[in-house]
Symmetry: C2
């Protein structure tokens, strides 16, 4: 095959790294744990971002921008929040460099020490609620429905491109409401927006549910999440939406006067997805030939490769392709005609396969004679010959089909790799030998959850919404349980 | 008038701050020098961003993302670059907080000190050229045409919302070329893109030119700029494009093999505009009634305010307005119908005037009878009555007219406030009593430029492109000069 990378079977983790690198998505930088998102990877992020941004706006949200720095003291105000983030913070302590008096470069100027250290935001609840304090006085000021697209920093010790990096890009919604009900409704609404996006645009099936207390966001009363299953049987949390109760309102003293003119604490939510989604995208659809992209998020949906021997043939194909390009663009299809004479067509076939372009059209001299073209699908790696004049309609249909097929394939994979375990032995056997989602009974205590994690490396991914009630016994302790919860080893 | 803010004549600086605050554009945060960009201000930034982004892509550029942190040692590699930025850097020295053993909050964990300090990027040349080293091997890899939308930090001591903040949002283009000519061409191309955008979208006339050596970007061989004139007669640098020569290629050892297989250092450019443009927008067009926005960048282009006494009237107006809204949207006009019953129409008139909405339509019961509407322009504060059925066409035309009028008004202001000075006395008199652009002779030395700045607080804004040659004598030293250069006091 001439591929320079591992198969999934050989080494799944290496396969992932190879795809990220060879499809030109991202690379490690000289700064520990920070990635460079390369143009092709960033183009996927831009598609993802513009689609989500529209969904946020359609549900009444507006964008704003809050400072990257957070005064250290703000963190301490919400106890479980600081607990959640203190161990992985980048801390700014000085604001000036100066020439090294001993020569050779610059040093931090000891005279330019900050009175209070600043944290590079790992998430923005504290700085935003400090701001909301001034925005909210009356019930008329509510709800506040802000979203922010930003970079955040969490000093992770073990990093992997897209999946876990010290700096990453994300969006964080932060909303303020008059009542608990409205805030809960918002938390749920945004989880459904995420699920809709991840399933319908990214073609990744998810399980929606609520986190166990152990896995909650620091400062949340409830964390809702969507969980996806990767091809190695590990789960990946693809998005979270938090009901924060009045915790941040109390920590930052944010009250409003209700209609009876009584002061009330404000109710809060926050929700986010990040560049991690690109990791999920890669690991859900790609194969041993490289990246596979769903048409809805592909920066290039169709590539046209000419096959020629003479300059005359090359020109004849270019002339034939021009009106087709025009029509495809009019149909809102992103198309690239790769007419580069310094690369061979075989190299191009490989390159676009590696980069996951959903549809490839090849046109050679014989096709000109028969007025046809060869159309190849990236998802199934199949080809067919299509009359040239039917191409636009055919491709429109095909892109929909590919989008659908990728989702169904991933859904089938998820179903095939979701099991039930009734005993500890079954549970561990499944995790070791048939990794995937495992539904099992748990006695509901954080202690048991911790112990299960310690012994099996599996965590409770969520308690699914509308989870059927079923009497049973905890796989670890044998204590009674009223429902199975969703376990997996996870990224 | 019921306005809560200063006029320009009373206190220009306060007038600016009042508009930023009262039009809900931005505010200071709890973090020294960092601003919160509020939803209305951010909506302007989004319009600006999407328009510019398209212009960058149309000129062949792609977006990417590079780390926010830069290892301290990277700065020292390019001598004039570190000189330019070392004094205003936010420095990360630690990566963890821990509970204060003495109780009360968290402290920086002294055991989590970084081996090498990281700088929060003030600009990204160094980290990007460190990355380009791996991307560029052969002439076939060139040009590299990347842009990044990002936040940057420069620890300014005196900050003003949008104009000068410790953190700001911007885009920075960083390109790599095989030849000096191509790099110079790119530097010029991007300056023209900026000028086109600032003049045609922001309706701000600019002077294009080249900076004197004193005012160059640290590490550049040439800095091109566009300079705009604010209503108080001070200049504002609205965008810069730098020809970096081979300085960064040499600092980071970035070479390519040319067609003869010889190693050559790569040529570089960088170029950027920032949220500062919003400051320029405010100060160019706004008046004593509040913000004035050019239609091309207005988040709301048209607001419709119903005037009614009874619920029945309110409903009748709403019914009448619905199809109009639809047609305006179809014509790609952003329209808001403010039907809020808790606010009076007078309050709404004031509010949208303050927020600079270009066109206001008012409809009352009498208008329903006569099938007309009152259309008010924000730029001229004039009103006229228009037959309801002509509204869409009228407004399309009107928005163009307002855009054009704002530009012409600003251009007239710029011309009226551009003078020539032939002596030092004239020069100082103009700056003090008729502030604006001043064309004057300068002997071409950095020493004289420094002295002029020290004595008059005016700087050379640029040496305009196609500047006419003219024999003369330096206003300060009397030494011979071959051309006038553009002076002003500046933001």
């Amino acid at each position: 095959m001439g591929k320079n990378f591992c198969t999934r079977a050989e080494n799944y983790s290496q396969w992932y790294n190879d795809i990220v690198k060879q499809a030109d998505l991202a690379e490690n930088s000289s700064v520990r744990g920070c990635m460079v998102i390369k143009p092709y990877g960033y183009a996927i992020w831009e598609k993802l971002q513009s689609t989500l941004d529209k969904m946020f706006k359609d549900t009444g949200h507006v964008n704003a921008y809050f400072p990257i720095f957070i005064p250290k003291s703000f963190f301490s105000r919400e106890a479980s929040h600081v607990e959640g983030f203190a161990k992985e913070c980048a801390v700014v302590t000085h604001y000036r460099l100066k020439n090294n008096p001993n020569g050779g470069g610059v040093i931090v100027d000891p005279d330019a020490k900050l009175e209070e250290e600043l944290i590079v935001r790992p998430t923005s609840e504290t700085i935003i609620w400090d701001t909301y304090k001034n925005w909210i006085q009356s019930y008329r000021d509510l709800p506040v429905l802000c979203n922010q697209w930003a970079n955040v920093v969490r000093w992770e010790m073990r990093t992997r491109l897209f999946l876990r990096t010290a700096e990453f890009l994300w969006q964080e919604g932060h909303t303020a409401h008059a009542t608990r009900e409205e805030a809960v409704e918002e938390t749920e609404r945004m989880l459904h927006v995420y699920a809709d996006f991840v399933e319908n645009f990214m073609a990744i099936p998810v399980v929606k549910g609520v986190k166990s207390p152990n896995e909650r966001f620091g400062g949340a009363l409830d964390t809702y999440c969507i969980e996806a299953l990767m091809q190695d049987g590990k789960a990946l949390q693809a998005g979270t939406s938090h009901f924060l109760g009045q915790n941040f309102a109390k920590a930052f003293d944010v009250k409003y006067l209700d209609k009876e003119n009584k002061p009330q604490y404000v109710w809060a939510t926050s929700w986010g997805v990040s560049t991690r989604l690109i990791g999920a995208l890669i690991m859900t659809h790609s194969d041993d030939n490289g990246l596979v992209l769903p048409p809805n998020l592909a920066p290039i949906q169709v590539v046209i490769v000419p096959i020629y021997k003479s300059e005359e043939q090359r020109q004849a194909i270019a002339d034939k392709v021009q009106p087709l390009m025009q029509k495809l663009k009019e149909a809102n299809i992103t198309v690239k005609f790769d007419n580069d004479d310094t690369k061979r067509s075989g190299w191009k076939f490989n390159e676009y396969e590696l980069k996951g372009v959903p549809v490839r059209i090849a046109i050679g001299p014989r096709d000109l004679e028969t007025n046809e073209a060869e159309v190849a699908r990236r998802d199934t790696l199949t080809k067919e010959t299509i009359p040239f004049d039917n191409l636009v309609g055919h491709i429109q249909q095909l892109l929909k089909e590919i989008q659908q097929n990728l989702f169904e394939k991933a859904l089938k994979f998820q179903k095939d790799n979701t099991h039930k375990a009734d005993t500890w032995e079954e549970f561990v056997d499944l995790l070791d030998n048939h990794p995937g989602f495992v539904y099992a009974h748990w006695d509901g205590t954080p202690e048991t959850e911790d112990k299960i994690k310690e012994l099996s490396k599996a965590t409770i991914r969520c308690i699914p919404f509308n989870n059927p009630l079923e009497e049973g016994k905890c796989i670890l302790t044998g204590k009674p349980s009223k429902q199975r919860v969703l376990f997996a080893r996870a990224y």
